[in-house]
Amino acid sequence: MSAKESNPTTDVAAEPEAAVTAPPEAAGISAPDQAAGPAVTHPQQGEMPFAVVMGQAVTELPKDLYIPPRALEVFLEAFEGPLDLLLYLIRRQNLDILDIDVSEITAQYMRYVELMDAVQFELAGEYLLMAAMLAEIKSRMLLPRSTENDDSEEDPRAQLIRRLQEYERFKKAAEDIEAMPREERDIWVGNAKPPDLNRSRPEPDVDLRELLLALGEVMRRADKYEAHLIEREALSTRERMSDVLSALSGQQFVPFVSLFDVKEGRLGVVVTFLAIMELIKESLVEIVQTENYGPIHVKARTE
């Protein structure tokens, strides 16, 4: 609160940054962010840098970091994770991402993590992981630097910076996507009522293979009928049985001889004969001969 008051007066340079250090809510991407707006002003104002010296932000942290638990929750929910929070802390201090002061950032980050803990905010493991990583970097930077021959080991700070940069570019990409014109907001697709349709439903195609597979399947299922099914007669006989029945349908008596077509040759005659025999056997037709050596007639048993 006092920091807020003193802010404009202390340093003019701080003025433009005030806008710059606006929390991510300023981007106004998601609804919760908006909700966070007013609640958040308190903590962020409190830690606003009041001076920039040689590109380095000088920050006086407020004595009381107290944030009402609900507000804190909203505040933290405004962040998309530890990287986002870190970016925010860095930006708020007017620091270039390549030039972060690890110990300062670590201290601030830890303060937030402690706060989260204090209000029993369900602390995501990711935040703790980042805390541990920051602590490690900090401790390594305190150690005397061995000579440059340990190049093989990557500078953990560089690693952190890379992660921050990588995250930031996608954070930016997300904002770009949000800004892109899109359907239902900026773009309306034109449509007109279609004419009355003359629809034709095409018939499904069937492959002979499918038919055979289906038959194989049913036969496997109906194993007990196997004996019944597998008969020696050729399919042509069954086909001819159908033809004979067709020929008989609607007729009273049909002369036996008329069922044969000599043009089919010997084989055809045999097939027809077998078909009629089978029809008799299955009681589908009956044979009638009124007198000895008289003409034989065939009649369907049913029609």
Binding site: D207, L284, E303
Partner: protein, 225 residues
């Protein structure tokens, strides 16, 4: 100029809307202070209508208001957008058809006995509509059930000269053996360069083998349609 802009707004709104828009609704798109009166909007609608001359769509007034619709004369082409993909026939239908082919003349009851489940009337109806089966008589048992047989259209569809070109039942019963056997002989026939040497290939060619499994002249039938 504002005039032309009004027509554009009317055109854009009508095209974007998913229902007809009334004059009042069109007026509602404007802020009060710049809202055109109804007669001005009607003029814009008339202009938009005139602009449809010789286009594939027209502006039509219906009960609820105005809408663009595609010219009825274009129906033959536009309808194709909704031409349904042919669905596949059910397994039950294929089994029924196969049994009719192999067991003809056969009644529905006999098919049901073999399949172990009822044959739905829809299947019989579909097969009739497709003109793949016909009734060749009625069995002389109670209920006088119809006996079904396949038709010449059925043969034509599968590119068969007669039913004898279908594989024998015994072959089908042993489909696995059949396909395995044929799977090995197939590469020769088709001149496929890679012999089904390893088991992987053999398994893959199984599908094909069934196609070839007919081994009859009817082979071609599997490739058409």
């Amino acid at each position: 100029m504002a005039e032309s802009n009004l027509v554009q707004i009317v055109e854009g709104a009508l095209l974007a809307a998913d229902k007809p828009l009334s004059v009042a609704q069109l007026a509602g798109l404007f802020d009060e202070q710049e809202r055109p009166d109804n007669s001005t909007i009607r003029e814009a609608l008339a202009e938009a209508t005139a602009r449809c001359e010789d286009r594939g769509f027209e502006l039509q007034e219906v009960a609820r208001g105005f809408r663009y619709q595609v010219r009825q004369s274009l129906s033959p082409w536009v309808s194709r957008l909704w031409q349904e993909r042919p669905q596949k026939y059910s397994r039950a239908l294929l089994e029924t058809l196969a049994l009719i082919a192999y067991k003809q003349p056969v009644t529905r009851g006999e098919i049901e006995e073999i399949r172990g489940v009822a044959v739905s009337s829809n299947i019989i109806k579909t097969l009739h509509e497709r003109e793949w089966i016909r009734v060749v008589g009625h069995r002389d048992v109670p209920g006088r059930p119809a006996m079904y047989a396949t038709t010449s259209q059925f043969l034509d569809y599968f590119n068969l000269k007669n039913l004898d070109q279908m594989p024998a039942l015994a072959e089908i019963r042993d489909l696995e053996t059949l396909t395995a056997e044929l799977g090995f002989s197939e590469p020769q026939e088709e001149g496929a360069p890679d012999q089904a040497s390893d088991s992987e290939d053999a398994a893959e060619s199984l599908d094909l083998a069934v196609v070839g499994g007919t081994e009859h002249p009817s082979d071609e039938s599997t490739t058409d349609n």
